[in-house]
């Protein structure tokens, strides 16, 4: 009797210690991850407000003696050639990414809905075939797609990039959205159809609003994919006035000296749309819209 009484608290405290140990290990890991991701971003920001000379100093200035926004002014000034280029690249990137996003939502939404709701011959085969592209590294398709684009007469057009990014982004978009549609009870559409809606109206009025979080997640995913892509943009586009940001920023590496503050300022501005997009739309990721729709 007494032995069990003694053992019990000891076992309990040992277990609590182990949980605490793991929890601390987890915290330390998270702090490390935070530093790992945040420090380069902070360093990018700090460098972007240095002068060209201060950026090259060693030991480095942790905080610039004379912070300046000169690099930003230069990049955003449509009067000088650097600013003209940067704004054009920015516009090109925005155009390509936005069109890619819109098209991928337009294609992925009905495709995912069809995969989720209808049974048709070859459904499973098609569904997995959609993923085939993603089983290979993107670079493998560089040469075939290059030849294809030349045959189609799309070289040096933004259309070539939009098409390519669609083939990369769509499979995951379809898979992601299908998961969303699978979770929307089919009875909601049936109820709508009995209540007087056509099948299409039921989709537009009932299902679409419920899948908004999924559509937004899909849109962000394909936007970021297109926004950051480098190798295809580098290969398919050669004319200066068509380049997208990732390729354009490369121009800051000139032969003799690299304008590091300018490079960092451009990189920072390139990351702004992505961050803003996330901050504005992240609540949609979290919002559990279907909660309360049906009793599980």
């Amino acid at each position: 009797m007494s032995t069990t009484a003694e053992i019990a608290p000891r076992g309990l405290s040992r277990r609590r210690m182990r949980v605490d140990g793991w929890r601390w290990a987890g915290r330390i890991f998270l702090v490390f991850m935070l530093l790992y991701t945040a420090v380069p971003m902070i360093w990018m920001l700090i460098t972007s407000i240095k002068s060209g000379f201060a950026a090259m100093q060693f030991p480095p200035q942790w905080w610039p003696d004379e912070p300046t926004l000169a690099s930003y002014e230069k990049l955003l000034d449509p009067q000088n050639s650097v600013g003209q280029d940067f704004l054009r690249f920015f516009w090109n990137s925005l155009f390509v990414s936005t069109v890619t996003t819109i098209l991928s939502v337009i294609v992925a939404v009905p495709a995912a809905y069809a995969f989720s709701r209808f049974s048709f011959p070859g459904r499973n085969f098609l569904f997995f075939a959609v993923l085939l592209r993603n089983m290979f590294p993107a670079v493998i398709f560089l040469v075939p797609l290059f030849i294809l684009m030349r045959l189609l007469g799309l070289m040096n057009t933004h259309g070539s990039l939009i098409l390519t990014y669609l083939t990369f982004g769509l499979p995951l978009a379809i898979w992601l959205l299908k998961g969303f549609y699978d979770n929307i009870p089919v009875q909601l559409e049936q109820a709508a159809r009995i209540d007087g809606a056509t099948r299409f109206q039921a989709f537009i009025l009932i299902v679409m609003p419920l899948s908004t979080p999924g559509i937004i997640a899909t849109a962000i995913y394909s936007f970021i994919g297109a926004w950051n892509e480098y190798i295809y943009a580098y290969t398919f586009l050669t004319k200066n006035d068509q380049l997208t940001l990732p390729v354009g920023i490369q121009r800051f590496f000139s032969e003799n000296t690299t304008d590091f503050p300018g490079l960092m300022a451009a990189s920072f501005m390139m990351s702004v749309p992505v961050v803003v997009l996330f901050l504005v739309l992240q609540r949609y990721f979290v919002r559990a819209l279907t909660e309360g729709a049906v009793k599980h």
Binding site: I194, D195, G196
Partner: protein, 365 residues
């Protein structure tokens, strides 16, 4: 309101027949329950009537129209789903207004009808809430409201009570029954709970394996089940079905159990057994029609009590006879212990006899 006619309705999925030649007529203002075990085709039948799935063959008539090829929206029906299927992004008000909006009613008329429905169902204070902010019973009521706001020809209900807890289910059961009485609505109601069907419906259609087994008033189905399936499905606890052997001794018709006991049949029952295609006869007896004796009585069959379940009102005693479980109800003041020797006496007037091969009820002529 309108009547509904199903004629030789068939639905197949590949080689699987989900609904087999189901024919029945639901009269104007009638409450019909489709009842049967899981997978018996009752929900499929309802979805065929709703037009949510296409029929393979047969006819569906609602009112005076054949609606086989009509969209659900054109059939003038309303449906209450098992999971309620409330539109989660819409408030209660908008849930109720949706069917009216889809029919392009003027806004002030929609407002009037929604408020009237809310008043009838006593949920005016809930109109601005979202479905997820409601309790199960309230959600149920909104689903009902969305069906009745439009004043459809037929109400279809797919197990509307099965997601509620036991107490609420009994309460909503009487509310739906009241709703039917007040509105004189034509209702087709799917349930796997035979008690719901018996208590609420004017007529019940018992289904099994895609076939309609029996279509009659609950009292008729209860008193005269057409076959062993219906007999065992309707009534709780289930009717005891005891396989026996028919023979003739001294010119009298006799049924013999596997343990060797036998009893003599009344002339009417003897005539039924004579009509059987086989010597194998199944005796069906409801718990209340069997008398339990603590000592040997002429005509009573010896058995051993297996379990004893007091419920307060009555005590159920189970025993094995001929390999089948026999359920007997006795007043709670009669004490029976498990493994105690008992004698069971069957009521010749109220017993059921089934053909051991065809499983159909035996008739006297």
């Amino acid at each position: 309101m309108a009547h509904v006619v199903l004629k030789d309705l068939v639905k197949t999925y590949g080689s699987f027949k989900a609904v087999n030649d189901v024919s029945l007529t639901v009269n104007d203002g009638e409450f019909v329950a489709l009842v049967g075990p899981s997978g018996c085709g009752k929900t499929t039948t309802l979805n065929l009537v709703a037009g949510l799935i296409p029929i393979t063959s047969g006819d569906i008539v609602i009112g005076d129209r054949v609606v086989n090829d009509l969209d659900p929206k054109d059939r003038d029906i309303a449906m209450v789903f098992q999971n309620y299927a409330l539109y989660p992004q819409k408030s209660v008000y908008k849930n109720l207004a949706f069917p009216l909006q889809m029919r392009k009613l003027p806004r002030d008329e929609i407002d009037k009808k929604v408020k009237e429905a809310a008043r009838v169902l006593d949920m005016t204070h809930l109109l601005e809430r979202k479905p997820r902010e409601l309790s199960g019973g309230q959600q149920q009521r909104v689903a009902l409201g969305r069906a009745l706001v439009r004043d459809p020809a037929v109400f279809l209900m797919d197990e509307p009570l099965s997601n509620l807890d036991a107490k609420l289910r009994v309460q909503m059961r009487s509310e739906i029954k009241r709703f039917h009485q007040d509105l004189k609505a034509t209702i087709i109601y799917v349930t796997h709970d035979q008690l719901e069907a018996v208590t609420m419906a004017d007529k019940m259609a018992v289904m099994n394996g895609g076939y309609l087994q029996q279509y009659d008033s609950p009292a008729q189905v209860f008193a005269h089940p057409v076959n062993m399936f219906v007999a065992s499905f309707i009534g709780s606890p289930a009717m005891s079905l005891i396989p026996l052997q028919a023979s003739t001794a001294n010119g009298n018709s006799v049924l013999t159990g596997a343990e060797g006991w036998s009893f003599e049949l009344s002339p009417r029952n003897a005539q039924k057994v004579a009509n059987a295609t086989t010597k194998k006869v199944v005796l069906g007896a409801r718990h209340s029609t069997i008398k339990l004796h603590n000592s040997a009585v002429p005509g009573a069959i010896p058995a051993k009590a297996y379990t004893v379940e007091p419920t307060g009102d009555v005590t159920f005693v189970q025993a094995f006879l001929s390999g089948a479980i026999v359920n007997v109800s006795v007043p709670p003041n009669i004490a029976v212990a498990p493994d105690e020797q008992i004698w069971l006496e069957f009521d010749q007037e109220r017993m059921h006899l089934f053909d051991g091969e065809t499983e159909m009820a035996l008739k006297a002529n």
